[in-house]
């Protein structure tokens, strides 16, 4: 990835003797200033804030200190990476010059550009990819701790406090990882090339969204040392208000992450609407683009509610307000509503781009046109539209509004219709195609299988009386792992294998991709079918130990989990070894027709020398019939 160095420098102007500020900033100054900011804010908070007085319910000094220190961290970090340079240059009326913009884009910086506020969408894509894998790794380790704890009769190897903390951390880390796993790496690296653009609409916002996530990660990791998140990933109040300062890490993590998704959502949507190549009408826009836009556009109205829910939580903890405390007129149902107004669109934010990516691959690997492009769009649009109206199906059993259970059951079950269209498109594309057996092709099969199970169990759960029996049990946990992991993550890993040649210039090792695939898929189905069984038998979620009745099912699940781990480690090894030693990839290894395969490896700085003009859609496979 360093061949940018080979290209002749066209702008020798920036070799001035005095280095400009932006040339000095990188990830190290960011972490340095971030830590300094945290320490300074911590001591200022300790010195200035009065000791906690009696009379307020939840407020505590340690939460004030921790929250302020994390705000100090954020300000320091973003200053240190150079995020504020742009706005202040705008304020002062000194807009960036062309050379400076090229420097920001990482021109002639070689490998260094991966460690600074680089605006080139391809660099951001790679940064997102590595970030996502790191986050998945942490979440995966936590998952294995959970399964190990539950893997012998009765469970209970870990202390309850530790176990609860791990469950919450695993949950929220994986949710965030799955949210960014497709739109982050592939939405940034591949999407602009696919639509024939030179970069994103707002390259600096692109870098901002990435570095906000990187600033957020230490917040959640610091929770480990601050008592963890013993509240599950939902962090329901008032339980969360009892939580240790680790909850503050959760709060800051979510707030920063919500800002990041907001910025990324506006950026990606604008790029697609305004910057498609000449001739790329909506009919000729690849389906993956629809998936990415639906996902990020859905996040725009949804995530502010998550942000708000955590702002209120932080206020309760740090200022003594009583939004969630019933003793002061607050309400736990308020939190649940705010949370799930975000929470249900969010699962489609995760799912849609992964399914759309597999739809994009389906014609390539079956050598026939995508079946029913219009239905694919209708499916995506229908899911996105309905998903904002279904949040209270997470709250059937809360009792907050029993009369609304009926209407919410209706909207929830209506979602099965557009979801069915996604199946129609995929199976219609497989039918009468030639199957080029690669790991992504097998992933389409895996998606059909896993998503069918996840979808059908979703129909059970959407039924209020059945939910009365199954809500809060391991059945629900298994259900959403089938959708988010069995469908979502499967699509994301297939995307990695599929676009790896374009992103790294090397082929993903075929054997390793197959070994990883089988380990993960077999392990996955063993693990979560076992979990369905204990859920049906009545094991609640998030318990660290359980009755003897559930021993067998939990053993099965833990066994399956270890297979998943083996497969994931194979994938990880595959990524590292292929990236460093893999076979050089040709420009278009899959003989596909989308625009990203028309640019050379490695992709040059502004993607296209001459912007392409599109004259047909990308699915013109198959022989015309005589």
């Amino acid at each position: 990835m360093t061949t940018m160095m080979d290209r002749p420098a066209s702008a020798p102007g920036h070799s001035a003797p005095k280095k400009a500020l932006i040339e000095r900033l990188n990830i190290f100054t960011a972490f340095g200033l971030g830590i300094i900011g945290a320490i300074v804010f911590w001591y200022i908070a300790k010195a200035i804030l009065p000791a906690n007085t009696a009379g307020s319910y939840i407020k505590s000094n340690r939460d004030q200190w921790v929250l302020l220190a994390m705000i100090g961290w954020l300000i320091g970090f973003m200053t240190g990476i150079g995020a504020f340079i742009g706005p202040f240059r705008w304020l002062l009326g000194k807009d960036l010059s062309h050379e400076e913009n090229l420097f920001y884009a990482g021109k002639d910086l070689g490998v260094k550009r991966y460690f600074r506020y680089t605006t080139d969408h391809k660099v951001v894509g790679i940064q997102y990819l590595v970030t996502t894998m790191v986050v998945f790794f942490v979440g995966g380790v936590l998952a294995m701790l959970i399964r190990t704890n539950l893997g012998h009769a009765g469970g209970g190897w870990l202390q309850p406090q530790t176990y609860n903390a791990i469950v919450g951390m695993h949950g929220i880390i994986m949710i965030v990882a799955t949210i960014i796993m497709v739109t982050g790496p592939f939405g940034n690296f591949i999407m602009p090339i696919m639509i024939g653009a030179r970069d994103m609409a707002f390259p600096r916002l692109n870098a901002l969204s990435l570095w906000l996530i990187i600033a957020a990660i230490p917040c959640i990791l610091s929770s480990i040392f601050l008592g963890g998140i013993p509240t599950g990933w939902v962090a329901y109040n008032p339980l969360a208000s009892q939580g240790p300062p680790g909850q503050d890490g959760y709060i800051m993590f979510i707030c920063i992450f919500a800002l990041s998704t907001m910025v990324a959502g506006a950026n990606i949507t604008t790029t697609v609407i305004k910057m498609r190549a000449k001739g790329m009408t909506w009919n000729r826009t690849p389906i993956f683009i629809y998936g990415v836009v639906a996902s990020v556009a859905l996040a725009l109205p949804a995530f502010p509610f998550f942000f708000l829910s955590q702002v209120l939580s932080a206020m309760d903890r740090a200022t003594g307000s009583t939004f969630y405390d019933v003793r002061g007129g607050g309400s736990g149902w308020l939190y649940e509503n705010l949370f799930w107004i975000m929470g249900h669109p969010e699962v489609y934010v995760i799912l849609i781009p992964a399914v759309a990516a597999l739809m994009e691959m389906a014609p390539v690997f079956t050598r026939r046109p995508l079946f029913s492009f219009n239905m694919a769009i209708m499916g995506i649009a229908g899911i996105s539209g309905l998903s904002v109206l279904v949040w209270a199906h997470h709250m059937y059993t809360t009792g907050w509004a029993p009369l609304l259970n009926g209407p919410f059951m209706l909207t929830t079950e209506l979602i099965s219709i557009p979801t069915g269209l996604l199946f129609l498109v995929l199976i219609g594309t497989l039918w009468r195609g030639r199957l080029w057996m690669t790991m992504p092709t097998a992933s389409i099969y895996a998606l059909l299988w896993n998503f069918m199970i996840g979808g059908v169990t979703g129909i059970y759960l959407s039924d209020v009386p059945i939910d009365g029996a199954l809500h809060g049990s391991m059945f629900v946990t298994a259900h959403f792992h089938y959708t988010l992991m069995g469908a979502g993550l499967t699509g994301a890993v297939a995307s990695l294998v599929y676009w790896f040649p374009k992103m790294t210039g090397r082929m993903f090792d075929k054997t390793l991709s197959w070994i990883g695939f089988w380990f993960v898929q077999i392990g996955f189905n063993i693990a979560f079918i076992g979990m369905f069984l204990v859920g049906l038998a009545g094991q609640p979620r998030r318990v660290g130990s359980y009755a003897a009745l559930f021993d067998q099912g939990n053993m099965i699940t833990t066994g399956g989990a270890y297979l998943i781990m083996a497969g994931m480690l194979v994938f990880l090894y595959g990524v590292i070894s292929s990236w460093t030693h893999g076979a050089k990839a040709p420009m278009n290894p899959w003989f596909a027709k989308t625009l990203e395969w028309t640019v050379p490896n490695p992709v040059p700085l502004e993607n296209f020398d001459v912007l392409p003009v599109v004259t047909s859609d990308a699915y013109g496979y198959g022989k015309a019939q005589s």
């Binding site: 009792g399 219709i417 009468r432 069918m452 003989f591």
Partner: protein, 255 residues
């Protein structure tokens, strides 16, 4: 439904791949429906109330209703897989057609999925109405349920000031639970009776059930409620009317 083509050849059902798909469809539907329905019903165990019996029944029926859809997708996927696999670093020949759409297949699919959805909604609504009406039953006995970290307490308000940590219920008598919490959110779940309602601080929520089998069943907390959430469980003893009256007396209440 097995036909995704627009062509008007009369021989569609005589084509080899279509025939194979139809056979596989029947086989897969039978296997999926039987295995999934049986395994699920068996895992859920014996029901201790009408509510739970209905739930198990609904899951069984939903599974059988969905089985043909899952079976069709599996059959089509399997047929393609069996006949058209190609390994190697170069792509196979292009497919011998350029079919991009099939209004017939698409509309069939939409209609069938809409009907299935309608079925699920209507049935679910009917059962839901029954459950909602049961909460309003004035003849039912009332039990106040209070959750706190990490125990349940039951107050038999119709029988004086009786409080217990294990729940006692007379068989075949409707009971309405008035559920609340002293600290954080808990969820009151009688596993074998298939009912669940959250215990919220500051609010009273209600649910109801009619136990129909004498025995001892499980109550578990279904909402993460802190350190000992896993241990926040107790038993419900469903006893005969006479035994219940005797137990209430022994606790100092009046029948």
């Amino acid at each position: 439904m097995s036909d995704l083509e627009t062509q008007k050849r009369p021989s569609v059902f005589e084509r080899k791949d279509v025939k194979q798909t139809v056979y596989l469809w029947v086989i897969f539907t039978a296997i999926i429906g039987y295995v999934a329905a049986t395994v699920q019903a068996r895992s859920m165990g014996a029901a201790a109330s009408e509510t739970m019996s209905t739930t198990i029944h609904m899951i069984r029926v939903f599974t059988w209703v969905v089985a043909p859809v899952a079976g069709l997708i599996a059959a089509m996927a399997a047929t393609t897989l069996i006949s058209k696999m190609h390994f190697g670093d170069t792509p196979p020949d292009e497919a011998d057609h350029q079919i991009r759409n099939s209004p017939r297949a698409t509309s069939t699919w939409l209609i069938v999925s809409s009907l299935l959805c309608l079925f699920a909604v209507v049935w679910g609504t009917i059962v839901l109405q029954r459950d909602n009406a049961a909460v309003l039953d004035l003849a039912a006995m009332n039990v106040n349920v209070t959750g706190q970290q990490w125990v349940w307490n039951f107050d038999y308000v119709d029988n004086g000031t009786v409080r217990s940590a294990d729940l006692y219920l007379p068989v075949n008598k409707p009971v309405v639970f008035h559920v609340t919490s002293k600290d954080v959110i808990h969820s009151f779940w009688i596993v074998q009776m298939g009912i669940k309602i959250d215990a919220n601080p500051g609010y009273v929520t209600e649910t109801s059930v009619t136990p129909n089998k004498i025995g001892i069943y499980d109550i578990r907390c279904a909402e993460l409620c802190g350190l000992y959430h896993a241990f926040m469980q107790t038993k419900v003893h469903v006893v005969s009317q006479a035994d219940y009256a005797a137990w209430i007396k022994s606790q100092g209440g009046h029948a």
